[in-house]
Symmetry: C2
Subunit: 376 residues, 2 copies
C-alpha cells in the first residue's frame, strides 16, 4: 500500500514529476565549516557562482571535477540568509538543484540559509515565537493611478482579539520590488513578531504597498506581465503617482479599515533605495503626517536640493530621522550627503552603519534596528 | 538627472544587478500564433523543454540555431497559465531568461501565460474586477502537531465592512504543496472575486492550511528547510495529524476568529490529489461536519474500502458529493472507483470531467465549477 500511495504522492507533487525523482542532488551541501555547491553541466566550459557573501559583483569560478560535475567549495560564511546565482557559459540562472528561491520583482535567485545560534534580526527559528502576527494581502482603490492596487499589511499578534488602536509604519520597497518583498525577503513578520514578543518594539501595523509605477501587483498575481525596461522615467524615480497615492489613498484606506491612531505621533514612513527616495518625497510634501522617518540604503541624490527636501521636515518637526546605510553600500554617498545637510541645517538624526551592501541582509538589519525606536 | 537616478534604480533592483542589465533576452517570445523559446547554452549537446501543454512527460527537443542559441517553436496553445522547465544536458531547471516562476512546494517551474479573450475560470484580467477580497496568512496552534502551523484565509470583498456571517470551504493542497499554492497557482482570490462579483457563487471564506506532515509553513517562511525525501509514510498519505488538526484545531480556530456560520450546512471540505485523500479521511471520521464534499484529481485508492469511507457520509447525509477528474488524469482510476462505489451504495454525486491532467489548470477549473454549487 505504501508504495502505491507513494507513487501517487510523488506524481501529485506535479512540479517534481521529472525523471530525477525525489532523491536527486540538492545543492549546496553545508558542512560544519564549509559550503559545497555542485552543478551538473557536462559540456559547459565556464561555470561561475555569484553570492551575496562574496565581495564585488564578478563572482567566482567553479571547477570541473573528475566526475564531470562542477564544484565550488568555500568557507561557511556567517549566519544569514544569502542569495546567489550560477552562470553557465555566460547565462545566469538559479542553482538548478536548489528549490529554495526568492523572486525579487523581475529577477529570481537561489536562497542559501546559514544557521547560527543567535540571529535575532531575522528571527530564523519560527517555532521560538508563539505570538505570531498576520500578513494580509488586499487591494485599495488608487485615485492617483485610476485603478485598484495591491498592498500587504502586517497585523501584530492579538490584533483581532482586542480593541486597542495601533500606530502604523508605512514601509516602501526598492526599485525592483513589489508588495511581497518586505514580507518574503525582508521577513517583516518574523522580525516584528520577535521584537514585539520580547518587548523590544511597540505593537504596530506595517503597511507595504506596491510602489512600482506600471505594476498594480506582484508578478505572481499580475497577468499579463509588463516587463520593466525603463526605470529612468520621472514617475519611476520620484514616485509621483505612488507618493500621491500614499497620502491620498493608502493612509486614508488604512485609517478607515484598521484600528489605528490617526496622528502624526503614531505614523512612521520608511523605504529602501528607491523607496528611500519616495520617503524623502512624501516627507517633503506632507511633513505634517509623520513623526518617524527612515531612509534605508539611500539619501539625498545630487539632484535633490537639501533645503527643498529637509526644510519642510525641519519646520513641521519630527521625533526621529533615521538613516541606515553601510559604507560599502553603493548608495552611501547619498546617505553621506543627507547627513552633511542635516548637520548643516541643525537637524537631529540617527545613523546606523553596521551594515553590508545594497541587499536584503542590510534591510532586515535596518528594520531590526529601526522598529524599536518607533512610537516610544 | 534621469540617467543618474536610473543607475541607482537599476542597481537598487539588486537581484537584477548582473552583467546582462535590463534589456536582456526574455523568453518565450509570444507571437500571434506561435511561441518561440530561446535558451543560451553554447556548449550543450542536448536541450529539451517540457511544458504542461504537451502530451506526456518526456518533453521535446530544442534545436541549435546558426547563432549558437537553442530554439523551440510551437503553435500557440489555448489560453491558460502553463508551467514548463528546460533541461540542459540532462539537468532540469527553469528557463533562465523568464523571471516568472511558480514554486510548488519543493520544486520550481517557469510560468507561461497565454492570454485570451475569455478565460473566466482564471479571471486573468485583474482590473476587470473591482470587488477584490483579501488573502490572510496567519498561524494557529496545532494541538495535533504540538506547534504553530500556518494557514491562508481568503476573505470575500466586503468582509470587514459588514456584520454578515459566512459559510466556509476548507480547501486542501496536494502532496507537493503548502499553504501558498492554492492562492498562487490556484488563483483562488481571482477566481472567487470573479464568481462572487458576477453572482455565480455565494460569498464565502476559504481556508487553505499547510497539510504537509513535516512542514509548518511554506519554504518562503521556514528556516531551516526540511527536504521531503519520503512521501510514503502513513502520516503523509492518510494525513493523520493534519486531518486531526483540521477538525480539532483549524475549524474551531476559524469559527472563533471569523464571522462564520458554524453549521454543517455552511461547511464544505475539498482537496486535490493527496488533499483529496485527506478529504475522504475527514469526511469518514467527521461526516457530521460537512454538507459539501469535493474530491479533485483523486478518489478511493485500491486500499480504501468504499463502505468504510463512504458509509459514514451516507449515514450522516450530505448535499453535494463532487468529483472533478479528467480521463487523462493519472488519478482517474481512483475517481472511477469512487463513482462505482457511490453508484453501488445509492449515493448521489456529481462528476465533472472536462479537465486536463494532474496539474493546476485542472484544479483552477475544478474550483471554478465547484464553488458555484456550494451553500445554495
Amino acid at each position: 500500500m505504501k508504495k502505491t500511495l507513494a507513487i501517487i504522492a510523488l506524481a501529485a507533487c506535479t512540479l517534481s514529476a521529472n525523471a530525477q525523482g525525489f532523491k536527486q542532488l540538492h545543492s549546496p551541501e553545508i558542512t560544519a565549516d564549509s559550503l559545497i555547491f555542485t552543478v551538473i553541466a557536462p559540456n559547459a566550459q565556464n561555470v561561475r557562482i555569484q553570492g551575496d557573501w562574496m565581495q564585488g559583483w564578478g563572482g567566482e569560478a567553479m571547477t570541473k571535477g573528475a566526475d564531470g560535475k562542477w564544484y565550488y567549495r568555500t568557507a561557511k560564511p556567517s549566519p544569514e540568509i544569502y542569495m546567489y546565482n550560477v552562470s553557465i557559459d555566460g547565462q545566469s540562472s538559479i542553482d538548478p538543484t536548489n528549490f529554495r528561491i526568492f523572486r525579487d520583482g523581475q529577477s529570481v535567485k537561489s536562497l542559501l540559509y546559514i544557521q547560527g545560534d543567535k540571529e535575532p534580526y531575522v528571527a530564523y527559528d519560527d517555532r521560538s515565537s508563539t505570538q505570531k502576527g498576520q500578513i494580509v494581502k488586499r487591494w485599495y482603490n488608487s485615485t492617483a493611478h485610476g485603478y485598484a492596487r495591491r498592498l500587504t499589511v502586517y497585523l501584530p499578534y492579538g490584533y483581532d482579539q482586542g480593541k486597542q488602536k495601533y500606530p502604523v509604519l508605512y514601509l516602501q520597497h526598492g526599485g525592483g520590488g513589489d508588495e511581497d518583498c518586505w514580507t518574503v525577503m525582508g521577513r517583516v513578520a518574523q522580525i516584528m513578531d520577535y521584537l514585539i514578543e520580547k518587548g523590544k518594539a511597540k505593537p504596530m501595523i506595517i503597511v507595504m504597498p506596491n510602489g512600482m509605477p506600471i505594476h498594480e501587483a506582484s508578478a505572481d498575481v499580475m497577468m499579463p506581465e509588463q516587463w520593466v525596461e525603463d526605470m529612468a522615467s520621472s514617475d519611476f524615480m520620484d514616485g509621483t503617482n505612488h507618493v500621491k497615492s500614499l497620502y491620498a489613498d493608502i493612509i486614508p484606506f488604512i485609517e478607515k479599515n484598521y484600528r489605528v491612531v490617526a496622528k502624526k505621533s503614531h505614523r512612521a514612513v520608511a523605504g529602501l533605495s528607491m523607496g528611500g527616495i519616495y520617503t524623502e518625497q512624501i516627507t517633503k510634501q506632507h511633513p505634517e503626517m509623520f513623526d518617524y522617518i527612515g531612509v534605508l540604503s539611500m539619501g539625498l541624490t545630487p539632484q535633490m536640493a537639501p533645503e527643498e527636501f529637509l526644510g519642510p521636515v525641519k519646520n513641521a518637526g519630527y521625533k526621529l530621522y533615521w538613516i541606515g546605510c553601510g559604507k560599502t553600500d553603493m548608495a552611501y554617498s547619498n546617505a553621506e550627503r543627507s547627513m552633511k545637510a542635516l548637520d548643516q541645517m541643525g537637524m537631529k538624526y540617527e545613523y546606523f552603519g553596521e551594515l553590508g551592501g545594497h541587499s536584503w541582509d542590510t534591510w532586515r538589519k535596518c528594520l531590526f534596528e529601526f522598529a524599536p525606536k518607533l512610537f516610544k
